[in-house]
Symmetry: C2
Subunit: 282 residues, 2 copies
């Protein structure tokens, strides 16, 4: 495997980013880590998310990535400045690409942002959008149920999904937003249902494509771009590889051939104790 | 503080058990730990839950508990045999008390069990019920959305809660169950909505009262019962003490005066690194 792009998320959501990167950059190899033992991040404090995200990056660093993508909105919103100080690789989060994508479609009407509690309360999207569009009105709404709904395997056609979305999106409809930022990597899977509620003249902004474009730009800039051949992918999780494989194929839009489980001992690098099996811990 | 009863859960749910124990045994002191940095347990593998539960118990052991209550159905279902081998304190989970409670109300009709994915797939309730009632028909249904719904602060009056419950409870209604075991410590907060859907002749079995009764019995048996004075309570969490305090008062049915946050270094006992602040990790 050539020096890969390292990508991590709290769980499955980041696979929508992997999909976009693989389409845009088929020659690149990818190493993905999903922290499924500690998912979700979106209901946890910034400090805890920063700590988990640093451990996720440390794990990826074993595979000597040339570039790291923080494919988790919550970690991007709360931990990116700290991560970029600590790790030497060039690094990209998903918030700035999201703000850039919304700038491209802005029509002067208010901009809606839907995301996890932690992302919304960080104010990261609001700041990133206002830096580009200082006169824009930003309407934010935390949507804590959407991640569990998607993780349960429900899709845009599900009546519960539609009822929950109708409730969450109400303040955005009332504010007559012209665009909605899908500020969580799980949300692209509910795009059809969100579009049905918001109407045809509201643009839905999914940062995955912009992230892929930005990764291509950065790799070119750093002379790190792979141009020939077909890249390889490896997937690691901290728990439940079978579940990741089953639910993950909807996110990746293709089969995931194999998922490797990382034990806490491997994950944390320096083992606190080094038991081979859980029975020895207990 | 006299030697306390140690109680842990993945998060907030175990407070319904604390409430029942405090009412039944007001002279007892309680130390509670909620693993809010890694919540929820119900979507994770048995091995990971066992590992987390062992770490939770280890933390409680610093307060020299005379008795440990595993106030988490998922941990009770997947980790109790391992925990009871590893820790010397007498220990009680919530599954056996739940099965005992359903036995007391059984009318010959099928028995419904609603719980997290991990609890249902462990088969622990089915086994515990069939051991007592070998001819009973047990209808199990995993309800992954109920924990996030309750954690978001929604209650029985919420239309989304009612829609989700109507869907989950359908197979139990079709099977004409005579009782429903609330196999997750979060579910008692949705009791009214579940009762409205199931109808008046279906008994709802909440193990919290039975757990409190069983703790009283065990403490008497071991000559550990506190009979005079008023017990003290301390609450610890691994993340988000403010959120725990705010949402937790609905579970405890009283104010939580203070919640202490435990850092991973304190929590894991032997620090891997010993930074004072997250910036030093990063």
């Amino acid at each position: 495997m050539a020096q890969p792009i390292g990508i991590f998320d709290s769980g499955l959501g980041g696979l929508t980013v992997v999909r976009a990167i693989r389409r845009r950059l088929p020659a690149e190899s990818v190493v993905y880590f999903g922290d499924t033992a500690r998912v979700p991040y979106g209901i946890k404090s910034g400090e805890t998310v920063a700590r988990f995200a640093a451990e996720d990056c440390e794990f990826l660093c074993r595979y000597q990535p040339k570039f790291i993508v923080v494919a988790c909105n919550t970690a991007s919103a709360t931990a990116l400045p700290l991560l970029s100080r600590r790790f030497r690789q060039p690094m990209l989060g998903v918030i700035e690409p999201g703000a850039r994508a919304v700038q491209a479609v802005w029509n002067g009407r208010p901009i809606g942002v839907i995301a996890t509690e932690a992302t919304i309360s960080s104010g990261a999207y609001r700041r990133a959008i206002l830096r580009r569009l200082p006169t824009a009105q930003v309407v934010e709404k935390a949507c804590p149920l959407l991640v569990p709904l998607v993780e349960e395997g429900r899709d845009a056609a599900d009546p519960i999904v539609r009822a929950v979305l109708a409730e969450y999106l109400k303040p955005l409809i009332e504010a007559k937003v012209g665009a909605v930022v899908l500020g969580c990597t799980h949300y692209p899977l509910l795009k059809d249902a969100i579009a049905a509620i918001m109407g045809r003249d509201v643009a839905l902004v999914d940062s995955a494509e912009t992230v892929a474009e930005e990764v291509a730009y950065c790799l070119t800039n750093y002379h790190l771009l792979e141009t020939a051949g077909v890249g390889d992918s490896r997937f690691f999780v901290s728990d439940n590889p079978e579940r990741f494989q089953t639910v993950g194929r909807r996110f990746l839009a293709e089969e995931i051939p194999s998922v490797e489980r990382v034990t806490p001992e491997e994950f944390f690098g320096t083992p606190r104790r080094a038991p081979a099996r859980v029975e020895e811990v207990l």
